[in-house]
């Protein structure tokens, strides 16, 4: 069974290139240098060399602003496909003398989800959001730290890559109602579990609800078909198996449905078991059980399930 491994980042080289402004600045310096040569004017030489040397110093400052940055740790909880997940990034300034300024962090090439750190004295924590598209074992996207400090003439950046893979749980989509259990008193397709508790609220009728669950009096009053929702009881349990998701359609939709049910059970502290093909678990509400089931669903392939 895969467990969340100890995080380790591979730090890449620091790259630096001029920005559009930097190129314009360079062109200007070149033109002025040509003028200084033409005029043989030492003040022109002085100003041009001052421009150039300040440009060079800027390059060193910009480079150091990224070079001295390290990512010490990266923390996250569960990662779900097609959902915005939060990655906590712990950054450190390795320069003991000066802070780092205007650092921009983003994942992969998606620069729209950026996080700006104005000043980094020693350490800091920042949160980056990531929405993986697929479930399964995947590499984390590379984290890029970028800086144009101080004069926006140069752009320096560094990538932080994770060598090992993390597991991305399947997306949680589908019917939020838990599936009906064998021996349910109403025999509904989507009936209450044995341990349903007190009445909670009303909701609109959905196509998978049994017509017998409709509260007709209430429905007439509100002009739409309403069914009752009940609180979960204290000693609930539920048996989940692959067949129950047959209404969902495609294989991926069924995987998402199973992922949703397992997540709901875990969130509501409902003891559950899961049967998918040859994979079968006992009733349990522990975190380990939840992780095992979610991992199975995340890595599930079509050949593992009965057709």
């Amino acid at each position: 069974m895969l467990r969340k491994p100890k995080f380790k980042l591979a730090t890449g080289k620091t790259y630096i290139i001029p920005t559009g402004f930097g190129l314009s600045f360079g062109t200007l310096a070149f033109v002025l240098l040509a003028m200084a040569i033409g005029y043989g004017n030492n003040i022109l030489y002085f100003f041009v060399f001052l421009l150039i040397s300040m440009g060079l110093t800027t390059a060193v400052v910009t480079n150091k602003n990224i070079e001295k940055l390290s990512i010490n740790d990266l923390k996250f909880e569960k990662l779900f496909a097609e959902e915005k997940n939060s990655l906590s990034v712990f950054i450190e300034n390795k320069d003991k003398a000066e802070p780092l300024w205007d650092l921009i962090f983003y994942l992969a090439e998606k620069k729209e989800n950026t996080n700006l750190v104005g000043e980094l004295q020693a350490t800091n924590k920042l949160v980056l959001s990531w929405t993986p598209q697929k479930r399964g074992l995947q590499r984390l996207p590379r984290i890029t730290a970028e800086s144009r400090f101080p004069f926006k003439m140069l752009r320096a950046w560094k990538h932080f890559d994770r060598a090992d893979k993390v597991i991305i749980f399947a997306s949680r989509k589908g019917q939020e109602e838990l599936p009906p259990q064998p021996g349910d008193r109403s025999g509904d397709q989507q009936g209450r579990t044995e341990s349903e508790g007190l009445f909670r609220d009303y909701r609109e009728f959905q196509k998978n609800d049994a017509p017998s669950r409709i509260d007709w009096r209430r429905s007439l009053k509100h002009g739409k078909q309403l069914v009752k929702n009940y609180e979960q009881g204290g000693d609930q349990h539920i048996f989940l198996n692959w067949e129950m998701s047959s209404f969902a359609g495609s294989f991926e939709d069924r995987v998402s449905q199973m992922s949703l049910w397992v997540s709901i059970c875990h969130e509501r502290n409902i003891s559950f078991s899961l049967k998918i093909g040859s994979f079968e678990t006992e009733l349990s509400d522990t975190r380990q059980h939840y992780w095992a089931c979610m991992e199975k669903i995340a890595l599930l392939t079509e050949v593992e399930v009965p057709r």
Binding site: I43, L44, L50, T57, E98, Q121, A122, P150, F151
Partner: protein
């Protein structure tokens, strides 16, 4: 970078200030209509941002730009020259200021600003003129910072200091090759100088000007006093009464090649003025450390082969014996005793002197007495029309150096004594801070040389008429009243007013010295100076390398480490914090451990919760992770004090409300 930020230029104080400074520094180089256009655009922008006056549509911008190009072309018949470029540049900046909106506009303005500042140096090399341009230069850098937390001045200063080594290396090592030559148009350069003719009034025009001509620094331990400083420029041989001409020149041929016993070495930095003459003291031996071709004439003068538009620096050596004299320019030549036909009264006067004095020395003494004792007056505003020698000598009796020099030389020749007129500068103002003489057009002067015993001897008839002109120097002399100017002696004023005048002179000397060093070290660094630096470095490269390494080691050691807070400092900080809280009557449980005490403080005072959380994070880092804290004790004290202040204000406001 090009996202629309709808920036307001009035909020960009550094950018606006720097643009105005840069514009001001080139105001004298651009046509008045460009200045007016720029100010109009700025005013429009001001009204747009403050009074919501509609902006000029952006689509009209190319039209405005094109109009500026067209007017500049019509005015100058070109758009590529020095003045045309700066005019167009200022016009474009004005248009950009009007349409300033995005970050890209901001960066473009900064680039154009840099260009304006640097181009200023094409027009002038004067330190004082470049001062506002340099201020604007640093202002533009300041506008590029986006981080508001940073101390911009301090950081820019750091960057500037770190840039100095690269700047020095580039400036010293970059070869000063003349690849292609472009002519400057110096707007502030002196445009006047000596011609080959001395006619009444020509020097008085120069004397009215304060323009710097050259600076002279003595390299030998011995120097000369004010009244001995005669900087010769040209020698005039041919006479037409009161008008004198240079005549034909002969190349120098040394008479004596023996090394002189006493010589005086000095360095001259000559400003760009319209003259080919190189100024030297009497009896010049040679001019050296000057790479351009020059002529040395038999009249002990030097001149350049062609005109120049920038300052030149050279060193010269003069002696006090005849070792510098020339074979071909002996006073015994007949040319030097030729005189035009003299007017009758002058002729009678000459005859009388010749009869009474039979030696050249006695005749010269008689002339001296004539000028000293017969009521001659030194004035820059003499009566007009004294081209006639009789009128000048016997009726008007007023004039200035050129009148006296011309008349004296003519009379000497008429008495059979070889004579010639020398034009140049006399004296100067000594800058005690920089130990150099500043010679301006005010010091323009004319004097004579007479042939005695086969040698040329300097005679200054102006000193007979107005001794103070020579002993005080032109600067001080012309500041006297006309009555004082006629006196033989002058007692300096020691009142408090004089003290302030002297203080002002010191300030002037200070800036003058800065300008001198600026010119000396920076402006005159040419291929020859570069070769000299290389020659010196080649011999001592090991020491230079060692010094640089040592310096870099010292600088690295001086880098201030972040003041990480230690356990001990943290305990002191906690004690301080508890005392401050007690002083502010904040009730807390003193028996709690630091972490718990802070949490309790956060619960009871939610307004400080954010600070307390950050502080606790540092505490955890220090105590549990055993790492350096993020911030220094000073930082935390500052933050706590800010919180206390805000809290006080809040409580006060709440009390006022209740």
């Amino acid at each position: 970078m090009s996202q629309a930020l709808e920036k307001k230029i009035l909020e960009q104080k550094f950018l606006l200030g720097s643009l105005l400074l840069a514009g001001l520094s080139v105001a004298t180089e651009i046509p008045a209509w460009i200045s007016f256009f720029s100010l109009t655009m700025l005013l429009w922008r001001y009204l747009f941002e403050t009074k919501q006056v509609p902006k000029i549509p952006v689509r009209l911008t190319p039209f405005l730009g094109g109009t500026i190009f067209l007017i500049v072309f019509l005015q100058y018949n070109s758009v590529f020259g020095q003045e045309e470029s700066i005019a167009i540049l200022q016009g474009l900046i004005a248009i950009l200021v009007l349409n300033y909106e995005t970050e890209r506009d901001h960066l473009l303005l900064v680039l154009l600003g840099f260009m304006t500042v640097v181009l200023k140096s094409v027009f002038t090399l004067d330190f004082i003129w470049l001062f506002p341009a340099a201020l604007a230069f640093f202002g533009f850098w300041l506008t590029l910072f986006t981080n508001n937390k940073i101390n911009k001045f301090k950081f820019l200063f750091k960057i500037f200091i770190r840039s100095i080594p690269a700047l020095a290396i580039l400036f010293i090592l970059f070869p000063r090759l003349v690849v292609f030559q472009t002519k400057h148009v110096f707007s502030h350069a002196a445009r006047s100088g000596f011609s080959d003719t001395l006619s009444p009034g020509s020097i008085s025009q120069l004397i009215l000007s304060d323009q710097m001509v050259f600076r002279a620094e003595f390299l030998s331990p011995d120097t000369l006093s004010q009244q001995d400083l005669y900087w010769r420029g040209a020698v005039l041989k041919k006479s037409d009464g009161l008008a004198w001409y240079r005549g034909s020149l002969q190349p120098f041929q040394p008479k004596n090649i023996e090394k002189p016993e006493i010589s005086l070495k000095y360095k001259i930095i000559l400003e760009p003025i319209d003259t080919l003459n190189l100024f030297v003291l009497d009896s010049p031996l040679k001019i050296y450390n000057y790479s351009q071709p020059l002529y040395r004439w038999s009249t002990m003068t030097f001149s350049l082969s062609e005109g120049r538009d920038e300052s030149v620096q050279y060193q010269a050596e003069s002696t006090f014996d005849d070792s510098a004299e020339d074979l071909t320019d002996s006073p015994l030549q007949l040319d030097y005793i030729q005189v035009p036909p003299l007017p009758p009264r002058t002729q009678r006067f000459i005859n009388q002197i010749a009869e009474k004095n039979n030696t050249p020395v006695l005749r010269l003494k008689a002339l001296e007495r004539f000028f000293r004792e017969t009521g001659f007056v030194y004035t820059l505003n003499p009566d007009r029309n004294h081209n006639n020698l009789d009128d000048f000598l016997f009726l008007k009796k007023n004039g200035f150096c050129e009148h006296y020099a011309a008349a004296f030389a003519t009379l000497a020749r008429a008495l059979g004594i070889p004579a010639r007129v020398v034009v140049g500068y006399q004296g100067g103002t000594y800058n005690s801070i920089g130990s150099f003489w500043r010679v301006t057009q005010k010091d323009a002067h004319a004097w004579d040389e007479v042939g005695l015993n086969g040698r040329w001897v300097r005679v200054d008839p102006t000193a007979y008429v107005s001794p103070l002109r020579v002993s005080l120097g032109a600067e001080e002399f012309f500041s006297l009243t006309p009555e004082d100017q006629q006196q033989a002696f002058f007692v300096r004023d020691h009142s408090s007013w004089a003290f302030f005048k002297s203080l002002w002179s010191d300030v002037e000397f200070f800036f003058e010295n800065l300008n001198y060093e600026w010119t000396n070290l920076l402006l005159n660094y040419d291929l020859q100076a570069q070769a000299e630096v290389f020659r010196r470095v080649r011999g001592s490269w090991f020491y230079i390398l060692f010094s640089l390494l040592f310096l870099s080691y010292v600088i690295r050691g001086m880098r201030k480490k972040r003041a990480a807070i230690g356990q001990h400092e943290f305990n002191s900080l906690m004690l301080w914090l508890r005392n401050e809280c007690a002083a502010l009557s904040v009730t807390t449980d003193a028996n709690l451990a630091p972490g718990e005490w802070l949490r309790q403080l956060g619960r009871t005072h939610p307004q400080g919760r954010e600070l307390i959380e950050d502080f606790l994070a540092d505490y955890d880092r220090l105590v549990y992770a055993e790492k350096d804290a993020n911030y220094s004790a000073r930082h935390w004290k500052q933050k706590w004090r800010e919180l206390f202040r805000q809290n006080k204000k809040h409580n006060f406001a709440a009390r006022q409300k209740s």
